[in-house]
Symmetry: C2
Subunit: 144 residues, 2 copies
Amino acid sequence: MVDSYCKILNKNRFKVTRQRKAIMEAMEKANGVHLTADEIYFGVKQDYPEIGISTVYRTLELLARLNIVHKTSFDEGKFRYEFCEDEGHYHHHFVCNACGTIIEVEEDFLHQLEESLEERGFIITDHKVQLYGYCPACRNQDTE
Amino acid sequence: MVDSYCKILNKNRFKVTRQRKAIMEAMEKANGVHLTADEIYFGVKQDYPEIGISTVYRTLELLARLNIVHKTSFDEGKFRYEFCEDEGHYHHHFVCNACGTIIEVEEDFLHQLEESLEERGFIITDHKVQLYGYCPACRNQDTE
DNA sequence: GTAGTTGCAAAACCTTTGCACTAGG
DNA sequence: CCTAGTGCAAAGGTTTTGCAACTAC
């Protein structure tokens, strides 16, 4: 996966540096968990202590520009990053109010909403859906 | 409108201060436009120059706790605030990529998405939908 | 009167930027 | 080589906090 992203970097004349690879590998290792820049920074620092936080931010910004990663706010006052994966597939998220787990939601029933807006003259290029509540693991816990 | 919010403050043993009123009035005057804390601060400052930004933040936090205002991030690195208005009515937004206008969207086709999650054992307490694109005014402008 | 509220200044965050040094192609 | 990329430290922007003074009830 990281290899194919490196090809995109190459194709766009960006250098495939040790840092950029390490950042993408840390994100890949997270395996679907949406990380903050800080979390990626500390993840990479484990086996690459010289890395700087600005490199992380600059790399994430570059990867977002190249549509390799997606940057979203979950109303925490900071951003989280994830690989885009499927082109053209919108991302819906479920956020557990108790444990903060963020999971991907596959269903997409928003087409009707978009169609209705497009009838009214809007052009929809993207959308974001975030669902909040309690996941099965937390719904039965009385203690929070 | 502000009067009814003052009653909620009273009922919950919070004081109805000049500052809190002024903040709610500034938000009311915005008439549906989603303001940042800073915008509210400068709005109130017009006819109440002594107000402090921390009062604005503290008031907004209080109003959010009392479900009077809703705090959302539109991926700009800061929060915007709006009155909750209709209880139980979810807020969907459309954000114009060109002019940044944020408009409310009434349609709600998400029930199916929620139902499907609830069948899987999740409890949904809230959700957020943000649509991005171009509004009718911007779609025909070649210059951006 | 007195506990809740305020304004100020400072701090705490997250993110960006300037600059000299480094390394990928 | 030579420019893009890096690490550091400093700055920027938003939000929070500590504290003495103040005010709504």
